[in-house]
Amino acid sequence: MTLLGRLQDTADQDAWDRFYAFYTPLITGYCQDRGCNHEQTMEVIQDTFVCLMRTMVDFLYDPGRGQFRTFLLRVVNSRICDSFRRWRKMQTLLPSSNGCPDIVGQVEDTANVHPALEWKAHWKQNLMRQALERVRVKVHPKTFRSFELSTMENWSPGQVAEALGIEANSVYQHRNRVARLVKNEIRHLKHEWEDVK
């Protein structure tokens, strides 16, 4: 059974922990891009997770009807709208409450926002981030650093070799090895969170 399938069991702590670890950064980043402050972001995550805890019991995933992440986007978007509505009301209903920042006028600008595209971009970023974290603990720190410097920071192999005290040829090897591992992890993550086979 896949992780998505295991979420039907609310008592499956491991599946829900992994779900939390995978999706919380994605939802957090997306909420921040949509203009939510930290408190609102936590509200949206809480609301989304509680909603899923109650709906996943009867959730039957059919890839033919769409991806799970698309369903999740609808849930999150709905929660973001709820959150903005609540925060606008908060000041009128509870004018004397503390810790209620003035958000009137901070309504999210939806004119130039394409939620599906933003969500997709965050999804890809999240996949990459999590794959990198998984690979980071699997390889020697110097190997990973070599990959980081040569690909993410665009250092030349010569610079990386000099900085890490290794041969330039090793830099190429490290880079290719880590890249291969990252691609594998991305494939695994996609399988875990998109497939039911």
């Binding site: 805890m53 009867d58 993410m152």
Partner: protein
Amino acid sequence: MNKTRPSRMDHIRLEQTVAMHMPPPHFKERLSLIRSLLADMKDKAAPGDGPCLLVKDLSGKRLVRLREFMVVGADKTCELPLTCPYISRRHLRIFFKDGEWIVLDEHSTNGIYINGRKAHCALLNNGDIIQIGTVTLVFLTPSKQSGQPAGE
């Protein structure tokens, strides 16, 4: 040396990670608590049931459908009477106003804690945990919006 040489790894798109303000660790614990409370209440916690309170006290767990105005306390005349230590006769009230559910401390002796923070009044969000004395109340709404209150 040229530090801006483009990467040859075009097949892997490495984007700059934007610094994110992630939820604190205790936030996950809170969600885990809600999950564990819901774990053996699948049938009763079906979505679409309307807003309710998941009550965990000395007698166990149960779901209580919310009414438009409810007083929670040790007094038997309260809409939700609770017989647990550290609970005042009229401890708090929960009511529905302008489409929102609000919790208000009724000047109780020991106060109320919402998601671990002491509060006098708050708008409730799906999954908020209200702690009064030894009793845990979890506010749950249907999957869509805040829901309408049950009839009196």
